[in-house]
Symmetry: C2
Subunit: 219 residues, 2 copies
Amino acid sequence: MLTIYGVYKSRATRTFWLAGELGLTFKQVPVIQARKLADPLAVDARINTRSPEFLAVNPMGAIPTIDDDGLKLTESLAINLYLAKKHGGPLSPKDLAEDALMIQWSFFAATEIELNALKISTANAEGRLGTDAGKAEADAVSRLLKRSFGVLEKQLSTHDYLVGNRFTVADLNVAEIVRYAQPYQPLMEEHPHVAAWLKRCQDRPAFKAMWLTRADEQE
Amino acid sequence: MLTIYGVYKSRATRTFWLAGELGLTFKQVPVIQARKLADPLAVDARINTRSPEFLAVNPMGAIPTIDDDGLKLTESLAINLYLAKKHGGPLSPKDLAEDALMIQWSFFAATEIELNALKISTANAEGRLGTDAGKAEADAVSRLLKRSFGVLEKQLSTHDYLVGNRFTVADLNVAEIVRYAQPYQPLMEEHPHVAAWLKRCQDRPAFKAMWLTRADEQE
C-alpha cells in the first residue's frame, strides 16, 4: 500500500507524475502547506504541514512524503528515485552507473537550478513577468542560471534524454525543476535543446494527466 | 582506476573522507576553484575549475568530480552514494529501503541545511564570529536552521546514526554539511545529540586522516 501525502500544487507533482508513469495505485492524503492557509493556527478541515497528525509521519513537515508499506520517506527527488527502482522498467536505472547518473542529475537540479528557477515561478505567479521590474528580475535570475542551463543544453544537444538515451526518472526530476523557469521565454529561447526536451517530457500522457488534476485542485 | 578531481579545501573533502573509509586507492588531480586564484585568467601552474582540460571532464566546472574507470560523475553527495554502493560493506545500503533513506538524508542536508550552514562557515573563516555583528548574523542563520536541526536532533536522540544503526555514507554526507555550522557554539549546544553524533563521525580515523591532509594543503 502506497500513500502519498501532499496536494498537487506543490512539489508533490513530481511524485504524482511518476506514479502515473509507473501505473501505481496509491492513496492520496491531501496535506496542504501551512503557509497557504489563511491562518495556519485556525481550525481548518484540511490537514496541513504543521498538523500534529502529519508531523507524526514527517517531523520535517514537508510534502511530498510517502508511506510505502511502512517505509516513510520524504524529499521528493529521493522518493522518485526509490519508487522507480522499486518498480523497475525503463524509467529506472539498469545498473549502478545509471543509478549514479540519475542521482547526480537530481542533485544538480536541486542545488544548481531550483532556488533561482523558483524566483521566476514566483514572479510569474504574482503577475510580475509582464512588468519592467519583473522582467529585469527574471533577467538577473537568468544570468545566474546561465551556467547550469548551459550544462543541460550541452548534454541535450547530443542526447534526447539525460541518462541512457530514454526517458527516465532523472528527466522527470530535472524537468519538474526546470519547469519553474519555463514562464520566462528569453531563457528558454537561449536554450532550445532544453526547451525541446522539456516539451518532450511534458508531452507524455502521465504528465498531462497530472497537470489536469492539478488544474482542477481546490486552492 | 579512480581519479578524484579537486583540492582538500573544497567539497571534495567528502569524497576524500569516504575513500579513506573504504580503503580506496585513487589518483588526485588537485583542481582548485577558479575563484580562489588571484586572477583566474592569469597563467597559473594549477588546474582550476575554469581550465579547458577540466571543463572537458566536467562542463559544470565543479569539484569534486570523479572518473571511475571511465564513468565521469559530479555532485559530491551522488559520488559518495555511488562509491559506497560500488564497494559495499557497512557504509553502503543493505537493501532498497536503506538506499532510499541514505539518498533522502543527503537531499535533506543539501537542500535544507547547506546554504545557511555555509553562511556560518564563511563568517567564521572571515573572523566575524567574534564580533557583535557576526554573532547577530549567526544567530539569525541559526533561527533559519532551527527546523532542520530539530529534525536531526529528534532522529539522533533515539539513534546513534541516521540509517540502520551504524555509521554509513548518509552520516558522512550529512556530517560534512553540518560541519559548516559547527563553529557557532550556541547552535550546537541547543542540539546536543547532533553535536555528539558529529563528534562520533569526526572521531573516525578516516576523518582525522583527511583533516590532517587538508590542514597541510597549500592555499
